[in-house]
Structure formats: C-alpha cells, structure tokens
C-alpha cells in the first residue's frame, strides 16, 4: 500500500497526472513531457529510492488503445516498503522520452533494454546501445509489427564447412 497523501501531493503538483488503482497497487499516468519531473519528485521528496524496473508495452493492434507504446516505471521506497507504478505513453514516429539515468544509475541498462527491444529513444542517456541483441541487428523485435520468426536475421550467418575448419 501507499500513503494517499503522497499521491495527492504528486497529483496536486502535476495536474496532468491521472491516478488509477488495481488491487491496491497505485498507478500514475503522466504525459511524457513531465515523466522525468514526476519521477524526480517521487525520488527526492517521497523517498522512492529504488528503480525496480523500466519496461514497455506495445499497444499496436490493441483494442481501444489510443497510444502505441506504454512505458512503465516501477519504483519502490525501501524505507517504508511502498511501491508505485508510473506510466507514460509515447508514439510513432520516433518515440522518445527523457532518460532517468541522472536519477537512478539502475536506469542505464534498463533503458538500453527498452531501446533494444522497442526502439524507444531515451534522451540524455549516456550510452544508448543495444544490450542483448548483436550490434548489427536492425529491428526492434518486441514491437508487435515484428514477425515472431524474424526477418531472416537468424539465417544470414556465415557457414563453416569441414574443409574450411
């Protein structure tokens, strides 16, 4: 659970934010322009010192969805054991959002993974390279318009025969 006064304070400071709740877990939905400020407020004024995860959902083909990518930030307060989810939505072309590496070092690799899989650009990230896929990989495979079996990346590798080895 999370203290309601924290949510009230954040919502008062950022009128664009909307809150929702599911099974006792509170979620704040904010526009991408202020997501960094909201996270900074949560960290510096409300003690959410741990960035648990940064991840993303592609809502392409999703019934009723108005935006394409939903970015998810999961925060935790290690002193009070409170947790909060902050969400924001970004869209094609060039989905981008401000990096939070300056707030949590942990965001470095998490944002690289989101870039790797979804192609969301994090502005201000010190080293936005692919983290899991090979350097030469060109697609963003967790996007819903990417075919499950790929576009031949797994086949276009050099072949070794007996004589060559």
């Amino acid at each position: 659970m999370i203290r309601p006064e924290i949510i009230a304070a954040v919502c008062q400071q950022f009128p664009q934010a909307t809150r929702s709740e599911f099974r006792g877990q509170v979620r704040l939905v904010v526009p991408p322009s202020v997501v960094h400020d909201v996270l900074q407020t949560l960290k510096q004024e409300h003690g959410f010192d741990l960035l648990v995860d940064v991840t993303c959902v592609d809502y392409l083909y999703y019934r009723g969805a108005t935006d394409r990518f939903g970015l998810v930030y999961l925060l935790a307060n290690t002193a009070t054991n409170e947790r909060i989810t902050v969400r924001t939505f970004v869209n094609d072309p060039e989905p981008r959002v401000r990096s939070v590496v300056d707030l949590w070092e942990a965001a470095n690799w998490l944002e690289r993974e989101v870039w790797d899989m979804f192609g969301i650009r994090f502005e201000g990230h010190p080293d936005l390279r692919r983290i899991l896929l090979p350097e030469g990989f060109e697609a963003f495979p967790l996007r819903k318009d990417y075919p499950l079996q790929g576009r031949g990346e797994r086949h276009n590798l050099p072949v070794l025969t007996r004589r060559e080895s």
Partner: protein
C-alpha cells in the same frame, strides 16, 4: 603367403590403429548453453561415467579438445562464438549436436534462435531428446566412435570425400548460400 607371427604381434592397417586410438581418447569441449548441459554433466558424473568410453577429459579450452558437444539452444549472437571455438579446436575434431534445440532449434522457433547448428558448422552425430538422457548421449558417443573407426584416416582424407563439404540440405533448398556467405566471419582459425 603364410607369415608365422608371435603371439603378441598384431597386423593391421595404420589407419585402423590411429582410429582405434582416436576414438578411445575423445576429449570433449562442453559447449553447454541450456538444460542439455545438465544431462551432459550427469553423463560425466560417476553414475553414467563417460570415462568408460575414454571421453571423460572435459576441457574448457578448445585448444585441448577434439569433440565439441553442443548442448542446448544456440542464438544468433552465440553462433560466431561457437564457430570461433570450432575453428580453434585442432584437427582431427568431431561435433555432436545434443538435443532438439541444437539440432533443429526445438520449440524456440523465434527470431534469435538458430534453427539447427548444422546450418553453420559441420555436425557428425545428432542426439535427439529434450533433453536427452545420459544413456542417449553415451549412445551418441558410441556411434561417433563407430564412425571414427569406420571412416577415419590418419591424414583426414575422408574430409575431402564428395558430399562432405557441401552446405546442409536445408540451406541449399532455401537457395541462400552465396559465395561470400560461405566465408567465416572470424577470418582464419588462428584468431
């Protein structure tokens, strides 16, 4: 022509003798990437005891190995590593593709998983199973021993036999093999 041999003398072909030595002293390179690796370890442990077949000397340097056992799925990012290790192994060398994933990609028909290592490196014996039991791997090693004894030659002449240096059937059917694709990425085997 009758030759009167003493009791402790055997007459054989040199190739046969060399093959007999090689097949009974296989030194495996464990390329274990997934659950097949656990069965591979069980094969090496005391209950199944691959030492009975002379193949207990697992080496973690490819320079000291002559049998690569690819146990588990191989992703496209790992394939250059696998090829590099294969090139670093000294001749004569053999390869066992252990399990469904290494042989065909298994259930992982996704963009990143190689659909069978034999598309990209030569394979001598395939071991089916998901994962194969140690007995199956032992059978694979015995089959490989049989293959070495039957086909091996001291200087590797069998490797130049027709049909040994063509890409796998699957690749030829897809028409994807071009001249530049046949060149290994890592350059020479001295890397």
């Amino acid at each position: 022509m009758a030759v009167d041999l003493p009791d402790n003398v055997v007459v054989t072909r040199l190739d046969e003798l060399v093959n007999w030595c090689r097949k009974n002293s296989l030194w495996p390179m464990p390329f274990a990437t997934a659950c097949c690796g656990i069965e591979l370890m069980a094969t090496g442990a005391s209950r199944h005891d691959v030492a009975r077949f002379g193949a207990e000397v697992f080496r973690f340097s490819p320079r000291q190995c002559d049998l690569m056992i690819v146990a588990g799925r191989v992703v496209m990012k790992m394939m250059p590593v696998l090829q590099r290790i294969w090139l670093q192994m000294p001749e004569p060398k053999w390869c066992i593709s252990m399990g469904a994933c290494a042989s065909t990609g298994g259930v992982f028909d996704t963009y990143s998983v190689v659909q069978g290592i034999d598309r990209f490196i030569p394979v001598d014996v395939y071991v089916p199973g998901c994962p194969p039991r140690p007995e199956q791997l032992l059978r694979g090693i015995m089959d490989l021993q049989d293959k070495i004894q039957r086909q091996g030659t001291m200087f590797g002449r069998e490797l130049d036999a027709p049909g040994r240096n063509v890409p796998p059937l699957a690749l030829r059917a897809e028409g994807r093999i071009s001249a530049e694709a046949r060149k290994p990425a890592g350059g020479s085997g001295q890397a």
